[in-house]
């Protein structure tokens, strides 16, 4: 422990933004996220072509997709459509879906997890039973069931993904809350007479924020991929509109004749995941600097 040395202007340096500004991870992550978001927002500007347009010259004479070159910087797909344009427009769909689904799932999961972990046995029991039911429920069936009742579309895909994602987080959060609840500072807060809501908001939530953010950032990538499996079942983003998920679905079996059909969206997902993860890590560490100190 450092002795209390007086430093000038300590307040700025140790504030949240101050810490964040000094982390290289925040910058790299931030830039990557910005890159992806800008690509999505300005997709029409950056795309050399209409993502739905099937070019005559986009296929070889025998009808196979073209590798990256000239007119098609990232190659074409099996219908002669430009991969770059589809990736950019796909970013819109995939980012929106994944972001909304994960954020909603994170909120629902955290709320339920906190309530279950903090409150009495009865509340805990009921909430956890519901969570367990969703957890034990085969995701495929859930996806098909919902997709069968409602026509497949982007909002439906978001709904399905949210349903699948919230339960594991709820359980994880509950576990964390159970551990945190017994810690000294919470006990003391209760002793002073602090109200439940205050305890939850100011003492417990910050502790579990770490887990939630980690989960959300890792889950972000897997959600995009789950959307690919939804396409397998016919309840993903309806074709021909591109999403990274259904681009992977269409390219999967063509890994030998046109590997770029899978590689391109996968790299896009990787960049996005990495960026969000770095940023998320940095934010979490800035909130709670202790986690960045060495053991």
């Amino acid at each position: 422990m450092q002795p209390n040395m007086v430093k000038l202007n300590t307040r700025n340096q140790n504030s949240f933004w101050g810490i964040l500004r000094r982390m290289p991870r925040a910058w790299i992550g931030g830039c990557l996220v910005l890159l992806v978001v800008l690509a999505a927002v300005f997709a029409p500007l950056f795309s050399p072509a209409d993502p739905l347009q099937q070019f005559r010259e986009g296929l070889s004479a025998t009808g196979t997709p073209l590798p990256p070159d000239g007119q098609f910087p990232l190659g074409t797909d099996h219908l002669g459509r430009d991969m770059l344009s589809r990736t950019l427009f796909g970013a819109r769909v995939s980012l929106v879906i994944s972001f909304i689904a994960n954020t909603t799932a994170a909120i629902i999961g955290t709320v339920i997890g906190v309530l279950a972990g903090y409150y009495s046995r009865a509340v805990d029991s009921i909430l956890m039973r519901i969570t367990d039911i969703i957890l034990a429920f085969p995701a495929i069936l859930l996806a098909l069931g919902v997709g069968a009742v409602l026509r497949p579309s982007i909002p439906v895909a978001i709904l399905i993904l949210t349903l699948i994602t919230w339960a594991p987080l709820a359980r994880l959060v509950r576990g964390q809350v159970l551990s945190v609840r017994e810690r000294a500072f919470v006990e003391s807060a209760r002793c002073i007479g602090a109200r439940d809501r205050r305890i939850i908001l100011y003492h417990i939530l910050p502790q579990i924020l770490a887990v939630t953010i980690i989960w959300a950032t890792v889950s972000f990538a897997s959600t995009i991929l789950v959307e690919a499996s939804l396409s397998f079942l016919g309840v993903g983003v309806p074709l021909p509109q591109p999403s990274w998920g259904n681009m992977i679905f269409e390219g999967q079996t063509r890994y030998r004749i046109a590997p770029w059909m899978i590689i391109v969206p996968t790299i896009a997902i990787l960049i996005t995941t990495f960026g969000f993860n770095l940023l998320g890590d940095a934010i979490r560490d800035a909130l709670d600097p202790r986690t960045s100190q060495r053991l």
Binding site: M128, F137, A148, I248, D285, T291
Partner: protein
């Protein structure tokens, strides 16, 4: 303590019942005509109607539900509408295969995830931390089906180290009557690589949090090295969220298992369920759902009990 256990058991049964009921309703509501799927599109309507009568499909939802529940409790899960085999037998035959695959996948996840998480935690913010982060994130970001195909192509065909999918039998290792390790390595790797990220990240965060607890500071002050602290004090507690994660992971693993079984041609219940869903084979869907939910719920129960044993604070709270 026994009261707690009993409560958890009852809770588990409630969950299984809940899953079964919701599944049944969903399958019932799903458009698709099981009788038509069996008879094929070219059969005349009269034949299809006959099949419907025989399978009791014309009865209302509550009637069919009660019938299903009544039989299920007695152990009769009906017959597959696709090939007429008893569902219970069909599922039991293939469950060991999926269990092997799931366990293998889980092992890979832990074998990869835990070390990655520890390494990343030892040097937070460093290059190694970043590298392990990237590695684990790659796992989550790659599509399993495609990776499976490519892996089989590269390591089964181009460089033939592993068999091209399938599920062989070796006399030396019975392993429940099936399975060779060689056939399971590649599928387990693909299955596990994807999920290792979750474990790595959660463990890393967990370690770093606990690292700042008072008792760790005390150990530090006593002069213990990082390794010793890790082994003696930290890991036990840091692993707790990981244990929870295993419980959740099971449901996710079972989802991944379907894809892996399809790519590698492994005859487990994942593939069976997939076929059942596509053919509206209601008894088989329900049978598999029941089994899967029992497995997940049962294992989560075990995990909760494990938590009880590992974390005294939870134990006190439970009592």
């Amino acid at each position: 303590m026994t009261a707690y256990l009993l409560r958890r058991l009852v809770g588990a049964l409630v969950v299984i019942w809940g899953v079964a009921t919701i599944s049944f309703v969903l399958v019932f509501l799903m458009p698709g005509d099981a009788a038509r799927m069996y008879a094929g599109p070219r059969a005349p309507e009269a034949t299809v109607e006959r099949i419907r009568q025989e399978w009791g499909l014309n009865d209302s939802l509550p009637v069919q539900y009660v019938r299903f529940l009544g039989r299920a409790v007695q152990g009769d899960l009906g017959r597959s509408t696709r090939d007429g085999r008893p569902v219970l037998q069909a599922v039991i035959e293939r469950v060991p295969v999926t269990i092997q695959l799931a366990l293998a996948g889980l092992s890979v996840e832990l074998l990869l995830g835990i070390p990655l998480g520890i390494i990343a935690a030892l040097r937070p913010g460093s290059l190694i931390d970043q590298f392990t982060t990237v590695l684990s994130l790659v796992g989550v970001s790659i599509p399993q089906f495609a990776v499976g195909l490519v892996a089989l192509y590269l390591f089964g065909f181009v460089i033939p180290i592993f068999p091209l999918g399938g599920y062989g039998v070796i006399p030396i290792f019975p392993l429940g009557g099936y399975g060779t390790i060689a056939h399971l390595i590649l599928p387990a790797l693909v299955l596990g690589f994807s999920g290792a990220a979750f474990y790595a990240r959660v463990l890393r965060s967990s370690i770093l949090e606990i690292a700042n607890e008072d008792y760790i500071r005390t150990a530090r002050a006593k002069g213990l090295g990082a390794r010793a602290i890790l082994n003696r004090h930290l890991l036990r507690n840091a692993l707790l969220p990981v244990v929870t994660l295993i419980g959740l992971d099971l449901a996710l693993l079972l989802g991944g298992v379907v894809v892996i079984e399809a790519v590698f041609g492994i005859p487990g219940i994942g593939l069976q369920a997939w076929t059942a869903i596509r053919n509206q084979d209601t008894p088989m869907i329900m049978g598999t759902v029941l089994f899967a939910s029992i497995a997940v719920v049962g294992l989560n129960l075990l995990i909760d009990l494990l938590y009880l044993a590992l974390d005294p604070r939870v134990r006190l709270n439970a009592a």
